[in-house]
Amino acid sequence: MYQYSPEDSNFLVERVDQFEKQLKRHLAGDLDDAKFKSLRLRNGLYMELHAHMLRVAIPYGTLSSTQLRSLASVADKYDRGFGHFTTRQNIQFNWIELPEIANLLRELSDAGLHAIQTSGKATRNITADPLSGLTEGEIEDARPYCELIRRWFNLHPEFSWLPGKFKIAINGAKLDETALRIHDLGLRLVRNNQGQLGFSVFVGGGLGAAAMIAAETASFVEVEDILSYLESTMRIYNLKGRRDHQKKLRIKFLVRELGADEFSRLVNEDWQQTKNDPNLKLNLVELEQLKKDFALPIKSLNLESFEEKVDFNYSIWKKNNVRRHKIDGFSIVNISLTKLGAAPGDATSEQMRILADLAEKYSASELRTTKRQTIVFPYVRKDQVYDLWQSLEKYGLASPHQGTLAQIVACPGRDYCDLAKAVSIPIATRVQERFNDMKRLLDIGDLNINISGCENSCAHHHVADIGLLGMQKNGEEYYQITLAGETLHETVIGKKLGPSVSGKIIVDAVETIVNVYLKNRLDQERFTDVFKRIGIAPFKEKVYE
């Protein structure tokens, strides 16, 4: 598994040392709140409703068991024994004391972890398909590219003070598990007619109050030229992006105002000046080394004599949580952390240590995190899946919810977040309670419900089958419903159903929507396909009758 070099580790220490000096100046009154805010955010530190929150990067969603133990230790020592896995392959700690932050970051750096640029107006953690390298038909494992691009924009002198945050996702697989077209910039690995590898580039996606799908600005950029192309994109954004209006800072507003064609033209014009600069070419030698570092640590196994166990609960869990691996003899296991009443994505330090132990025993010491806030074991021998399930069952981690309606994505909501207008977690709990029958869940199948507590859309409600957006009306919590959003096969922003619905009856509305879907479903039709066929009217009619 890829690990940072001694120079990289030293860089992390230098970054902590620098931030510690800034913190001391702030605490001594020599660095004002506004500037310190700008600096602390670039080190992943937020001031939330009750305490400081630290967001730690899990680059491209890949973690070693050692790193997960380090996160568990941080949860115990500096938080209240919890961590929260986010929708963008980060983990957050919600109860951090400001004076302890430098020691915490030093502990993380010992494990090759950091919080650099997990927030602030700079390039954020770069996300990848959590199944990178594992599935058939993939063009290439995106993670070596993620790592090279992450490094390049790490404290980039020109692009560390952009108009707004800048999120990048890279996908190398057939299906888009990264939701790249709702990112500020999405890269899709592609091959051209000559078989050369390169990227299609999409710019200007994002959710929030004005949800937009990124426009394609280049259909093919050669691998070697991607850094100069990205620099030109960011330069146009840095110089021309809106800085005068707090709600129009993201690159999507610039792309919309200029038009995608004009934006692409400006980027191209700039790029022609740098495209041939040898110093801006992606380092292909380093790329080859990274491909070796990220190579799968398994070889195909002949398990012809292996017989699968017959067990009803196991088979339900397996149906929902285990996926086919491209290497013979192995499976991909998805572990849901969902528990009634707990925030989706929350894990206790004890759970983290159990998962670290199990990953060592069953998954070559490696784990992945997903945008559905689950944990993936990428290398489980087929003849050990049952043993793993038994261990998960023993520790209460064998929830068979993956791929069902009960695997809800929710932000922390008004219970924890300063920005939220309404609660999210209690709504998720009520929906799970309403749909607590496994037979019914299996009948409904894979249906996504995402709940955001405000327009910042941290739970990506726009791209769920059923999206709920919390808001306030006359002091009461209401939820706006959007239907049939998706990112996996194509990127579609969900359609608003109608007037927002009171929190008191929102679960009834969700159930009504599910019932309309089931009544109209033909064979195994997905929710989005039913919606395309019958339109919004039948859903509207039933919810507002």
Binding site: E7, D8, N10, F11, E14, R15, Q18, K21, Q22, R25, D30, L31, A34, K35, S38, L39, K121, R151, W152, F153, N154, L155, H156, P157, E158, F159, S160, W161, L162, P163, L227, R235, N238, L239, R243, Q273, T274, D277, N279, L280, N283, E286
Partner: protein, 146 residues
Amino acid sequence: MSEILQIESILNKDYESVDLVSFQEWFENVNKLSKLSVGIIVGPSDDVSLIKDQLDCIELIVLDFNNFDDGRGYSQAYLLSKRWKFPGEIIGINAHLDQLQFMIRSGVTSYVLLDSYLGLDEKDYANGFSICYQEAANNSGLQKKY
């Protein structure tokens, strides 16, 4: 055009006083000013591409970094220094201690810190790291890892 601070001159690296004009003044009187060895004060919203063909006539360029969160000055410095190879000094004024590393690597050749940072150790911030991960206008003293 920019909303610029009213300074009229600045010391160059040889401690000589150089008269300064605003970006707007330069264009209003370019024929006269281009013969007078003056410097130009460029604000964050000024389009530096407008002076790229006149750089030989400009003594020095002053970039304003007063607004902590406005990063346009870094791209301006990069374009002037690296792309258009401005031969004169690029001076960052109203500089913030915590941003010196970004300014210098983007192509700023010298800087004037805001008074509020007097007494703090600039070296700590101007040279905060031992390595760099990307090509830049100025990577001197840094081990390159890219």
